[in-house]
Symmetry: C2
DNA sequence: TATTGTTATACTCTATAACTATA
DNA sequence: TATAGTTATAGAGTATAACAATA
């Protein structure tokens, strides 16, 4: 429904009367989806030139913090199915950002590490992430960030204690 | 990393030492994704027997509240691309839950309505949604629900005013 | 020319089953 | 028997381009 109004200056202005979402707009799942899409869209925009997706960034960052983890550990910690982790890590390895190393004592598993190039890229990504994060923290105010994170963690994990 | 500990009763207990997510765990995008996955997984479980997805439910609910909307209005209000809305609504129509009606005055567009069956199904779905919602509100406490919704809306839409 | 609905299509994300080589 | 990694594959969700009918 397009409505035409007249401003005080006598100009015509067209606008859409908002469609009532009703209870849908107050569902946690719906609000979470809309917020997540907004944040991920901004992430995609900033990381487009580096061709890095959220899951890829999270893997690189976790390996920086925990060098030598096995695939199953990284994928489980990040909630990525081990079967989907394989091509994800293949891409990082093909690009020379991370690598699999044989581990002594268990010839089934690989230990994962960042390469120098991966570490170098992370410094660039971290700067972009900081700006990305600041954009959304700015929308709610710094004081509200921890409140929001705490609530989200309690939604995701009932055993979470702040 | 699997660690083996000994309880007071001298039993062996295996547990995984948690992998440090570091800054990743404090990213809004990451926390939003995890929370959304948890909520949508619960939704999928409850609606499995009705074979209804979140987007389908939101369309039915919006039509209940706004009978006669055009496709473009519904899809825009819910953030569904009009091109993806077509097969989504085809499914609802094939199942006899909603219908397209010709609209006088514009032979290009259709007005969308729930059928009786659609309205009837919604009463069932609404009950399940209420239980679903209560589960997650219970995790944060009723007093925090509006806080969370408000923050999420400000994340999703910078122009949002509470 | 612009808009409404549509088709075809492609890419990402996520999920399951089944395999291999080790343990 | 169980585990780590892998392959193949299928289903959602989301995206773009191009078209027909109508405004």
């Amino acid at each position: 429904m397009i409505k035409i109004s007249r401003t005080a200056d006598d100009d015509l202005v067209a606008f859409e009367s908002p469609v009532a979402l009703g209870p849908v707009g107050n569902l946690l799942g719906y609000a979470l989806r809309r917020a997540q899409l907004a944040v991920f869209a901004d992430f995609a925009e900033r990381m487009a030139e580096d061709d890095i997706r959220p899951a890829q960034y999270s893997v690189l960052k976790v390996l920086q913090l925990n060098p030598g983890l096995r695939q199953a550990q990284v994928s489980e910690a990040l909630g990525i199915k081990r079967t989907n982790f394989v091509p994800l890590f293949d891409t990082l390895e093909r690009r020379g950002l991370a690598e699999r190393r044989k581990v002594e004592g268990d010839r089934r598993s690989f230990a994962l590490y960042l390469t120098r190039a991966g570490t170098r890229l992370l410094t660039v990504l971290d700067e972009k992430i900081a700006a990305h994060e600041a954009k959304f923290v700015g929308r709610i105010g710094l004081a509200n960030k921890d409140t929001l994170l705490g609530l989200l963690q309690r939604i995701a994990d009932p055993s979470f204690e702040e």
